[in-house]
C-alpha cells in the first residue's frame, strides 16, 4: 500500500468537512476521488499531506510523493525556465530534462514570466514540475483545471501511463469523464463521506436503474421523478420494477443527490 487513510475526520469551526473517510491506494494504482464542489476532496488531500491537521484518523504514506495543489500558484516573477532550475536546486528527485520535455510538449514558452501565463498554461506548467519528480505517489488536486479538451486529454493520458513504472496516482476531480477513461478505483465523495468506492468497471455492473410507481420505496438512491414514477439507482440485488442499465453518469448523480447530510 502506498497510501492508507483510516477514519479521517476534519472539521472547520462547526462544519465537518471530512467525516470518517477511509481508503487505500495500492502500488501501480490510479485512485480517483470524485465528488461535487464542497464535498471535502481538497481537505482530504491536504490532511494526507499534513497541510491541514486532522482532528482524528490515521494516515500512512509509504514512499516519496509530489503534489499538485488546487491553487496552482508559483513565483509570478520568475520565468518558466527559471522555475525549472529553481526546482532542480531544491528537490533531489527532480528531473529537469523531463520537466523541459513536458513543457515543450505542452507548448509552454520557457522565457515567459509565470505571471503572463493563462490559467490553463499555468496548470500545465505546474503539472510539468510535479510530473518531473521521480516519486512513488503523485497527489493531484484537480489536475485538469482550466484546460481545453485537447490538453485535458493529453494530461489524462500522461496520468494513465504513470502506473507503467509502478508509480501510483491519487487525484481529485469533479468531472466524470475524467475518471471514466483512466481510473482504477473511484471513490465518490459526498458531504464529507465516501458514498461509494470500487473498481470503476465493477461499479457499472453493481448498479441498475429501476422505475417503480410513485411512492413505492426502494433501498437505493432516487435519481429522477416523473409524474407517475420514481426512478431509483439501486444495487442489482435490490432491483425491482422496470429495470434498465445504469451508466456511471446516472450512478454518480443519484449518489450525490441521495446522500443525506
Amino acid at each position: 500500500m502506498v497510501l492508507s487513510v483510516k477514519n479521517l475526520v476534519k472539521s472547520y469551526r462547526n462544519k465537518r468537512a471530512v467525516d470518517g473517510v477511509s481508503f487505500d491506494v495500492g502500488k501501480g494504482q490510479i485512485f480517483s476521488l470524485l465528488g461535487p464542489n464542497g464535498a471535502g476532496k481538497t481537505t482530504t488531500i491536504k490532511c494526507v499531506l499534513g497541510l491541514r491537521k486532522a482532528d482524528s484518523g490515521e494516515i500512512t504514506i509509504n514512499g516519496s510523493y509530489s503534489y499538485l495543489p488546487e491553487q496552482k500558484e508559483m513565483y509570478r516573477y520568475l520565468t518558466v525556465e527559471k522555475m525549472v532550475h529553481t526546482n532542480e536546486r531544491i528537490s533531489r528527485s527532480f528531473d529537469a530534462k523531463r520537466a523541459l520535455d513536458l513543457l515543450e510538449e505542452f507548448q509552454i514558452p520557457l522565457k515567459e514570466k509565470i505571471a503572463n501565463l493563462s490559467h490553463g498554461m499555468n496548470t500545465l506548467a505546474y503539472l510539468s514540475l510535479v510530473l518531473a519528480e521521480d516519486v512513488d505517489l503523485y497527489l493531484m488536486d484537480e489536475p485538469t483545471w482550466g484546460l481545453d479538451p485537447l490538453m485535458r486529454n493529453k494530461v489524462l493520458d500522461l496520468i494513465r501511463t504513470i502506473p507503467q513504472n509502478g508509480k501510483s496516482v491519487f487525484y481529485t476531480s469533479h468531472i466524470l469523464s475524467e475518471v471514466e477513461k483512466i481510473a482504477d478505483i473511484v471513490a465518490i465523495m459526498v458531504k464529507g463521506r465516501i458514498a461509494e468506492m470500487d473498481n470503476l468497471d465493477d461499479l457499472k455492473e453493481k448498479y441498475v436503474a429501476c422505475a417503480v410507481p410513485k411512492g413505492q420505496r426502494l433501498s437505493g438512491y432516487l435519481y429522477r421523478s416523473t409524474k407517475d414514477e420514481d426512478i431509483y439507482v439501486v444495487k442489482r440485488s435490490e432491483a425491482n420494477g422496470k429495470i434498465q442499465p445504469a451508466d456511471f453518469d446516472m450512478i454518480f448523480e443519484a449518489l450525490v443527490k441521495g446522500v443525506k447530510a
Binding site: 501501480g28 494504482q29 493520458d157 494513465r160 507503467q164 469523464s177 477513461k181 482504477d184 468497471d201
Partner: protein
C-alpha cells in the same frame, strides 16, 4: 509479428470497459482476423492504443485466458487459443432474442421481421440471390 488492434471504446457506456475489450476480441477471432496461435498485442501496447488503463486490459486478457480464449505464454504475452464459439454464439442469440421481444412488445409483425432477416442474410450471400430477394421485398 503481432498485429496491432484498434477499436473504439465507449467510456460513457454502462458496459464495463474490460467487457467491451473481451467482446471485441471474441469477434475478431470469430471473423478470422485473429487466428489460433497469433500473438495479441501486449497489455501495455493495447492500453496505449486504446488509451485505457493498463489494469483494465490486464483484466480483460486474464478473463479471456480463464475462458480458454487466450493463453498466456511465459514472458511473451498472450496467444489466441480457441474461441468457445458455442458460448459466444449463445450470448449473441440472447441479445437477438431480447431485441425480438422488444419488437414484439411494440407490435412489429413477424412478417416484417422475417423480411428484414432475409434481407440481412441475403446481403451476406452472393449478389444474385440478394437481388432476387430485393425484388420480392
Amino acid at each position: 509479428m503481432v498485429r496491432s488492434v484498434w477499436f473504439k471504446i465507449d467510456f460513457a457506456s454502462h458496459v464495463p470497459v474490460y467487457k467491451q475489450i473481451k467482446e471485441k476480441f471474441k469477434l475478431l477471432i470469430l471473423t478470422g482476423e485473429l487466428k489460433p496461435g497469433d500473438f495479441v498485442p501486449s497489455i501495455r501496447t493495447l492500453a496505449d492504443d486504446l488509451k485505457v488503463n493498463v489494469n483494465t486490459v490486464a483484466r480483460a486478457y486474464r478473463e479471456l485466458a480463464m475462458e480458454g480464449v487466450l493463453e498466456p505464454v511465459r514472458g511473451e504475452g498472450y496467444i489466441v487459443r480457441q474461441l468457445n464459439e458455442e458460448g459466444f454464439i449463445r450470448s449473441n442469440i440472447e441479445n437477438f432474442v431480447d431485441a425480438v421481444e422488444r419488437c414484439k412488445e411494440v407490435g412489429i409483425g413477424i412478417e416484417r421481421l422475417m423480411s428484414l432477416l432475409k434481407e440481412i442474410y441475403g446481403r451476406r450471400d452472393d449478389g444474385s440471390e440478394r437481388e432476387e430477394l430485393g425484388e420480392e421485398l
